[in-house]
């Protein structure tokens, strides 16, 4: 195995090339270090590291927002309006009502992250069940699920989401549900394709021969084999859920005030772009940091999993 300039991508040909040290080989350690596989492993590790750091930089302060020595998110002092960052003990400056922007962003993050996490749990569970059932049972179950998946493609998604939020009121459960509704097809599609592969494997036939009920086979044997693969996509969906939530609250479909959410802080700050750049820039950077982190982490984990398992159907995550 030499390090070619154009290496086979996606780990298709090359498995781990750790040649056992005892055997004589023309491949030096230096060659190994330059090999595509090693570089890929390195880049996956780098992605995971950088991603984790990015996520931690956002999630930890958000989670600990109530303990940090910062003013409350609603504490206003009208005489200290729109202070630039790093003045008067306000790291991110203050907003149009003299509230500490950092505190608003962190407390807003609690709402946004809660919605995001809840949404992927709901969409993950629904997508997993629907996709697994479609892939495993085939027949009319598959037809129904596949048609639903197709139908959603032609839906004006954001419009429907705005409508539903208008319909049931902008509360956290409604927004969570709405985002889950937008996301379950990703999980379902992936699970279905994974289960289709898994279904043909000998252990499924064995289970059938042993007289296990089909549902039991699916739940006890097939699902555990696909959950890990599918869960990697779910991490990437978290990134989208956060983005979707911020878009909804940017368009005005966020939880009741004075709850801050990231989208709303930016929408409110938009009116001040020519004078107070930080009101839009900093909350946006926090979103970007988190989402880049989650995406890198998800990407890295997926690269690693793919290397172990060889090429597999990958979750192609697309954004509505």
């Amino acid at each position: 195995m030499t390090a070619t300039t154009v290496g086979p991508a996606d780990g298709s040909g090359s498995r781990d090339t750790a040649a056992s040290p005892g055997r004589p080989s023309a491949v030096t350690a230096k060659d190994l270090a330059r090999s595509a596989a090693v570089r890929r492993r390195k880049s996956a590790r780098l992605k995971i590291w950088v991603g984790s750091v990015g996520v931690a930089l956002v999630v930890l302060p958000v989670a600990l927002a109530n303990l940090l020595p910062i003013p409350g998110p609603d504490e206003q002092s009208l005489s200290l309006r729109r202070l630039p960052p790093l003045t008067g003990g306000h790291l991110f400056g203050t907003d149009q009502l003299g509230r500490d922007l950092l505190s608003r962003v962190l407390h807003g993050g609690q709402v946004s992250l809660t919605v995001g996490v809840l949404a992927i749990i709901v969409s993950g569970v629904i997508g997993l069940i629907a996709g697994a059932a479609a892939g495993f049972f085939g027949g009319w179950v598959d037809t129904v699920v596949s048609r639903l998946l197709e139908a959603q493609l032609s839906l004006p998604l954001l419009l429907m989401l705005l409508l539903v939020v208008a319909l049931f009121g902008p509360s956290i459960p409604v927004i969570t549900f709405v985002i889950a509704f937008a996301q379950w097809p990703e999980v379902a599609r992936l699970t279905r394709s994974l289960v289709l592969v898994e279904r043909e494997k000998p252990y499924v036939a064995a289970a059938r021969v042993l007289g296990l009920h089909r549902v039991t086979t699916l739940l006890r044997h097939v699902l555990p084999n696909v959950v890990k693969q599918a869960s990697l996509v779910i991490l990437l969906l978290l990134a989208q859920a956060v983005l979707l939530e911020s878009a909804l609250s940017y368009l005005g479909a966020g939880p009741q005030r004075p709850f801050a959410t990231w989208g709303r802080i930016i929408a409110d700050g938009q009116d001040y772009i020519t004078t107070s750049w930080w009101l839009v820039t900093l909350p946006g950077l926090v979103i970007v940091l988190l989402v880049v982190g989650v995406n890198l982490l998800g990407d890295g984990l997926r690269d690693r999993a793919r290397r172990r398992k060889g090429p597999q159907t990958e979750g192609k995550v697309s954004r509505a």
């Binding site: 009208l78 020519t274 004078t275």
Partner: protein
């Protein structure tokens, strides 16, 4: 004036004579950016402030309310009260439409009929009753009413005159008017219009040859577009936009006190035992609101404190008192009234007034300081707030609401808000349940009094009575603000948030 997808396809340059973007600066035209979409140049339904400017450029009324809120004659040469229930009007000599045909008495009669037939019209609420037209000669007619309507000359400024044959009981999408401009291109879907000078205009020719109207709903876009010279005049701008624009060399911000009043109005449908049914509690809460801080810090002095129950710019408005900030007094009065742990719910619709959310979030904190816990419920435009206001959606305590003064008369908003009666309340048609028979009777009397001095003294009494019922937790009079490029001059901004297009000039 058609709504053609092809016209939309034509894209840039489809408007003759108007350069795009910064090119507009060199042309002989101006570009206005409105915050709401102008869907027609008629006002039977779409009566929002900024539209009036453009609508009046194309169609005219018998009279006009000038920036000092007095009546000027336009199509009418004479408009006089000749008997308690009778006005005599004479059309000006030589007034004609852009197609050359003259304005006739029949056109006025038809216009009045058509306006009456439109359901949901804003104007119907302004007219206590519709006058009928009795022709006297070719150019003279009488406007007759059953009861005296001493303010008819003000009200008729809202009735735009169109050729009788072309007038319909709906928002007119095309047709001609007698104004200084004609529409040469229109896209209702996108709210974009091009106006060109009317060659056959009966009055002095306007200085600006072309007026381009655009629709930019977001304020951030309007501000940026004005800064870069893409547009020349923007309206309905918030205090923040003022502070962003006021330092710029080629932009001028122009403001006048408006005829609107914005209130934190109490819910008057509370049962007898409820704290808010007690005027002392209503008064006490008003001391919790730090008005001066809100005006200075949130509004950047772009509003003035209310000194009465309607905007003091209006004809007939009087000063009745002021809102004072005194949290200590608020607490004492609440204690004295035996109110503890009061919880209130404040509702409003997004965009009801400038910086609405900032004000509401600030008010919550101010109330907290006097021990009152306030909860906010914000409604999206198109949401259910109208149902809530009628008391059919849910319980609330304070409503953030603006009330216009479109006629320039104090009487109009006073009647709209405070002349509630038991009969009106049966269909929930009062203003937040405000029913005080004594006040309603005073206002009724004022509306029919033809003697100006008597009318104003009755109105003054009524306003003092209203103030003493403490209808609002706080109120302010917003200023009408426009911002324009400095090259655009002589914009005679009126408190009703419109200006005469014909008098605008370009410098250089």
């Amino acid at each position: 004036m058609t709504l053609s997808p092809l016209a939309a396809c034509a894209g840039p340059g489809s408007a003759p004579g108007v350069g795009a973007g910064s090119g507009a600066a060199a042309g002989s035209g101006i570009t206005l950016a409105l915050n709401r979409s102008l869907v027609s140049l008629d006002n039977k339904l779409n009566q929002f402030d900024a539209a009036v400017t453009v609508q009046r450029g194309v169609r005219q009324a018998l009279t006009f309310i000038d920036p000092k809120l007095t009546v000027q004659h336009v199509l009418a040469e004479r408009f006089e009260l000749t008997a308690p229930t009778e006005w005599t009007v004479k059309l000006r000599d030589g007034v004609r439409y852009s197609d050359g045909s003259p304005v006739t008495v029949e056109d006025v009669a038809t216009a009045l009929r058509m306006y009456q037939k439109v359901p949901g019209s804003f104007l119907a609420g302004l007219f206590p009753e519709w006058p009928t037209v009795t022709p006297v000669d070719a150019a003279t007619f009488k406007l007759v009413t059953k009861h005296p309507v001493p303010t008819l000359d003000y009200l008729m400024a809202n009735i735009l005159i169109t050729p009788a044959a072309a007038n319909k009981p709906e928002e007119l999408q095309g047709g001609v008017g007698s104004g200084p401009y004609v529409v040469t291109a229109a896209n209702r879907g996108t709210g974009e219009y091009t106006l060109q000078v009317n060659d056959k205009y009966w009055g002095p020719a306007p200085a600006i040859k072309t007026v381009q109207v655009r629709f930019l709903p977001e304020e951030a876009n309007r501000v940026v577009a004005l800064r870069s010279g893409e547009v020349d005049v923007i309206d309905a701008i918030s205090p923040d936009a003022i502070s962003q624009l006021s330092g710029l060399g080629d932009v001028e911000v122009q403001q006048v006190p408006s005829t609107r009043i914005t209130q934190l109005f109490y819910n008057f449908r509370k049962p007898a035992g409820h704290p808010l049914a007690d005027p002392r509690v209503r008064e006490a809460l008003s001391y919790a609101i730090n008005g001066p801080a809100l005006i200075k810090d949130v509004f950047a002095d772009s509003v003035s404190p209310a000194r009465g129950v309607v905007a003091d710019t209006l004809t007939g408005a009087v000063q009745t008192g002021e809102y004072v900030y005194d949290p200590q007094k608020a607490k004492q009065m609440l204690d004295a009234a035996g109110v503890k742990d009061l919880k209130i719910k404040i509702i409003w619709e997004t965009g009801e007034f400038a910086n609405d959310t900032s004000v509401m979030e600030a008010v919550v904190e101010m109330l907290k300081a006097v021990g009152v816990q306030a909860e906010l419920q914000q409604f999206q435009p198109g949401g259910d707030i109208s149902k809530w206001r009628q008391g059919r959606g849910g319980d609330w305590d304070v409503l953030g609401n603006g009330y216009p003064g479109p006629t320039g008369l104090a009487l109009t908003p006073l009647q709209g808000m405070f002349a509630g009666t038991k009969e009106k309340e049966a269909t929930r048609d009062t203003y937040q349940g405000y029913v005080f028979p004594k006040i309603a009777a005073l206002l009724e009397k004022a509306s029919q009094e033809t003697d100006k001095a008597v009318r104003e003294s009755v109105l003054a009494t009524a306003q003092k009575e209203i103030w003493n019922t403490w209808p609002c937790m706080w109120a302010f009079v917003p200023k009408t603000v426009i911002a324009r490029r400095k090259r655009v001059e002589n914009v005679l901004l009126s408190p009703t948030n419109s200006y005469e297009l014909a008098s605008v000039r370009l410098n250089g």
